[in-house]
Symmetry: C2
Subunit: 366 residues, 2 copies
Amino acid sequence: MNRRPTIKTVAEAVGVSTSTVSNAYNRPDQLSAKLLARIKATAEELGYPGPDAAGRSLRSGRAGAVGILLTNTLSYAFSDPYAVRFLAGVSQAVEPTDTSLVVLPPSPEAVQRAHIDAIATLCIPSSHPATRAAAARGLPIVGTTLPDQAADPTGTDDPTGTDDPTGTAGPGRAPGSYVAIDDREAGRLIGRHLARLGHHRVTVLLDTSTPYGSAGTEVGPEEILDPECWARWLGLREAMPGAELSAVSAGHNSYECGQATAAAVLDRQDRPTAVVAVSDVLALGFIDAMRRRGLDPGRDLSVAGFDDITGAEAAGLTTVHQPIEDKGRLVGELLLAPGAEPRRVLLPIDLVVRSSTGPAPTPSRS
Amino acid sequence: MNRRPTIKTVAEAVGVSTSTVSNAYNRPDQLSAKLLARIKATAEELGYPGPDAAGRSLRSGRAGAVGILLTNTLSYAFSDPYAVRFLAGVSQAVEPTDTSLVVLPPSPEAVQRAHIDAIATLCIPSSHPATRAAAARGLPIVGTTLPDQAADPTGTDDPTGTDDPTGTAGPGRAPGSYVAIDDREAGRLIGRHLARLGHHRVTVLLDTSTPYGSAGTEVGPEEILDPECWARWLGLREAMPGAELSAVSAGHNSYECGQATAAAVLDRQDRPTAVVAVSDVLALGFIDAMRRRGLDPGRDLSVAGFDDITGAEAAGLTTVHQPIEDKGRLVGELLLAPGAEPRRVLLPIDLVVRSSTGPAPTPSRS
DNA sequence: TTGTAAGCGTTATCAG
DNA sequence: CTGATAACGCTTACAA
């Protein structure tokens, strides 16, 4: 039983040097057609499977893969429609280049061990240990949120050449590349919409993928400070200065958690007139729970979400639309071409009013 | 501007040998607590991000990742509910071990370059070039279909120690590890069900991820020979010996293709009394198209699918249930523990009769 | 067009 | 508990 054949085995068998064999795989045009054929043939014969991935990337410094760093468990990535859609977009971009996609749980260890050339962060703050691990490795990072001070809503696609070498922008690092929407503005859109409808008492459903509060618990505004994570909430508050806002932690970001949280919210004494979930999945779960109780979303209680995922339309959910798949695709493109200058892309959003929101009931407590 | 720090940089800075630094990361218990702390500290200080992935795996032979090889494009993986669910299962298994998940398009190149320790194939035949590439690399492979001669339906979970060293089993290779359902039996379940309902003329909707026929085309039975891919069809035929079976290629496996194919099938002169789609997505799309035309599934035409994905219940789709997520989880487990002996797991299936199938209309052509 | 030689960063082995 | 040494399999200037 021999050991697995290497480039050397093949070279010896053919009677050429290892570099020639290497070239046969990496620069086929540098060889005479004859030789190339002969090499490929004996390689086949010997059962040489082609250049070893580890050896190759140790030498070349490239891994041929990009990573997506998720907030939650891996399996979460496959249960959240938003994440799934986003990943589909990334795939579209990387596929033609024979680059593979590595999905990563939010663990610094996993990030360290991953064989990747660049990494994108999905809903995970830049302060998270796993994100830091990526930065420490010196990997090009592409974010999916606006950095800190919710930037000026200049317009779509603004790859300003204006580099900020001093990094005076935020606390610490200069904001890198990203593809994002203006989440704060999205919050404002919903806020203005609800205000216009006369809502004064609204509850916000937050997911607690980031460690603020725990499921079902009420969350005080002072805990919601990271603008990178809670831009939507901040925008909402901004647009409804007079309203009585409360926040409830819904657990993690899923349909089931949306359903479960409904119980807590609907039974409250001072039931709000509107509920805003930080994501559509949560909102859809909430709506489902309402219907099961015989409540009519938009009449008995207004519900709004964010993202406009598949299913939002069917459910009549008022939400803020964003081009999820495009976002993924653009992220994929940035991942593949990690230029020196950070690139920044701002995607357009739209308020989509459907039947789940309606005028606030008149103040007379039913 | 220095080059990126390595294990050596750290070793020199601390004044120890590289092996000690390596141990600090791989066998922390082999060091005095003091030294370990000192090493970690200077590593931090120097910005050493921990052992480099490429170097480490070149030396150790492990990549710390497993791959999933898909039939279709990468983005397909994220649009097919079956695949998504399966991947969620795999994730659950691998996540606790800090192993990452690499999703691979069906390209031999991608398989060769991938940094993985084992690979699972999802709906891709073992004869496919990409699968062969994996075999050539000597990667442990876990399949998700029964090898060739649809095995004896012994029961659930039958990790027979009975190795077949001579490989007399099939044409060529001995069947390796797999986690599968008896797809042929699944076909029989549907077939018997339809036969019992009096159906004689049925059309099968096939996806053409494997290169038999092209979208919308009628497919002759002689082309449908690979039992690994079309076990469901074979089982169906087996259970309906008297019936007039036709097969239609639906393009790829998606809701949209199911919808589109409906047009072709419903307009036919000799419209069948029942349609069996090889997957639920296809069937759900088909049903949707029927409803849009004012046709009532189960009354005007019976429709059945396979897999019992999320949404099948809501649509009232008759189908064969299989534990998709468990399948993924089990595959993940086999991937992590690639023993020498192939392990084989057969998962249980159930016919789930819902409203989309009903008695065949009486022979009088309406 | 092909060969030579020098590592890439790590870890296993074995000795101290 | 720590250190020296030798690979691991490959790529890439550069030289022939």
